[in-house]
Symmetry: C2
């Protein structure tokens, strides 16, 4: 025979409060209501839960034992309510973010760190991938959101894209690179240097091709490729090699790594770094929290980058 958990919780309240009336009050119910609940419970188990003829109602041995279990149930139930509440506020839950490697490493990861310091109970599973993989992940539920640079026209109809940052690329080299002291850089100045390339299947690699083609350099020498941002940064700072990176990545990397963006205009796809998600699916609150947070952070970052570029332009 199954007992009603609610009844056990009520019993626990009565025993803990030392009386039916107080118990009812603690539960926010009327006294007759809990009285009847206890009568029902007693009738079902067929045994007395309270000593008969005692006015501040006192539990029997069985009543006390059941009250302990009721208390356990109450705690679990309360924990459930709390979990829902925290989940609703985006303070709890698991969150699966996928994104293109360079952006994730160079821009998003530090923001996620900041986010997590505020939302300690949100567990974040980060993964890497390009458009196709990320789309698949979003559709099959393996990802909550994807973060990647995308052309507005590229967005599939069942997905929704929220831009975060402009996605313009720049030619990057180490600080103190000979080219940083060169005024009016041309193709001729660049030609001698070797290139660091991202993985061949990455959009960034195609960006690199396109950028170099746009400045007339069809054919280029690659002496390092395939690494993640950390490797690219290391090779970049340890050599005179050049590469193409999103400006935002360079901008943020400069806080800790001596990099420079060359003031050479290159063609770049009209892409924007942004958040891609399934449009009709209701996102977990933690995800909404994160997207809101990233949006705000990126707006600040964009403002700082714009400000910085104005100064650079004025100086340059």
């Amino acid at each position: 025979m199954k007992l009603d958990s609610e009844h056990l919780e009520i019993l626990a309240a009565i025993v803990e409060q030392g009386g039916l009336t107080e118990g009812a009050e603690a539960l926010g119910k009327s006294q007759p209501s809990v009285s009847r609940s206890m009568a029902l419970l007693e009738a079902r188990i067929g045994l007395p839960l309270f000593e008969p003829g005692r006015r501040p109602l006192r539990p029997t041995e069985l009543g006390a034992s059941l009250a302990r279990l009721g208390s356990r149930i109450h705690r679990a139930n309360k924990e459930a309510s709390l979990l829902v509440q925290r989940y609703r506020q985006g303070l709890a839950g698991r969150l699966r973010v996928g994104g293109s490697p360079i952006f994730m490493d160079g821009v998003v990861a530090s923001m996620i760190a900041e986010f997590q310091s505020r939302h300690a109970d949100v567990q974040i599973d980060q993964s890497y991938g390009y458009l196709n993989q990320l789309e698949a992940g979003l559709r099959n539920g393996g990802l909550d959101v994807a973060i990647l640079p995308l052309h507005p026209g590229q967005v599939p109809p069942d997905l929704e894209f929220t831009p975060l940052l402009s996605g313009n690329n720049v030619i990057t080299c180490r600080a103190g690179h000979p080219l940083t002291r060169t005024r009016g850089i041309t193709l001729n100045h660049i030609a001698p240097y070797a290139w660091i390339a991202p993985p061949i299947d990455s959009p960034l690699y195609r960006d690199l091709q396109r950028a170099l083609k746009s400045i007339g350099q069809e054919d280029f020498r690659v002496n390092f490729s395939g690494g993640t941002l950390a490797s690219i940064q290391s090779v970049l700072t340890g050599s005179d090699a050049l590469t193409v990176l999103p400006y935002s990545v360079v901008f943020l990397s400069r806080r800790t790594i001596p990099l420079e963006a060359l003031p050479l205009k290159i063609d770049h796809a009209e892409r924007q770094l942004g958040i891609l998600r399934v449009s009709d699916r209701q996102l977990p609150p933690a995800v909404r929290q994160l997207t809101t947070f990233l949006l705000a952070e990126c707006q600040r970052l964009q403002a700082r980058m714009d400000h910085d570029q104005q100064i650079t332009r004025r100086r340059g």
Copy 2:
């Protein structure tokens, strides 16, 4: 906002069974019923518990977390049902038995030991007292049952008395006592010996007085008094002192302690050892179990005593 524990348990069942239909089956409910319960729960918390558009229903992160809590609730609830069941069968609970010291020590304790070996989860609180105390204990709920020798006419109207054993007393001495070799014992034979007396306020003390008076010995010498059965037994076996004890106590003591009952008829109150309890109060099942058990044990004991006395009589 409070969640329905029942809903959480249902959720747990669904998640554990890997589907709504299986969950419903495991719970012994119809599929539509649990479906609606989950719809209600989802509506209340305002967040999805299951991945949308998945046919073997799969929980979301939140759903899975709540299911874990539901499982905890389920375990506690099941434990409660089990407790009730065992309690109802008299296999669990606490049981407070009070009784007159000599009987409790000499007869009841060993039976209780036997009872407890069969009902391991029954906790027994034993206490000692005479009629007045025991009555009070029964009435104020401090005792479940009392075990004592009582005259049928002495039973108060609100209490109920179930006889267990005849309460006749005998004069007792150590085995090998000079009197045991004496035929046709008279007052003169007994006169020289000192007496061991129970506590002065005990009915047994009055029995002793009465018994001795009935054989003409108004005035007797007490050289030990106030001890419990264990002490009385020790003094008895270590000296030639005499005492008056219920025959049942002597009978059972003989299994381990060398005592003899003198074949001297003495007057004794028409009392019977029995169980006293409040007549209108429903007793915990464990108590009923114990009383039934004691009844059976005492019947067997009575039969053995009767048998033994026939033999003794034939021999004597």
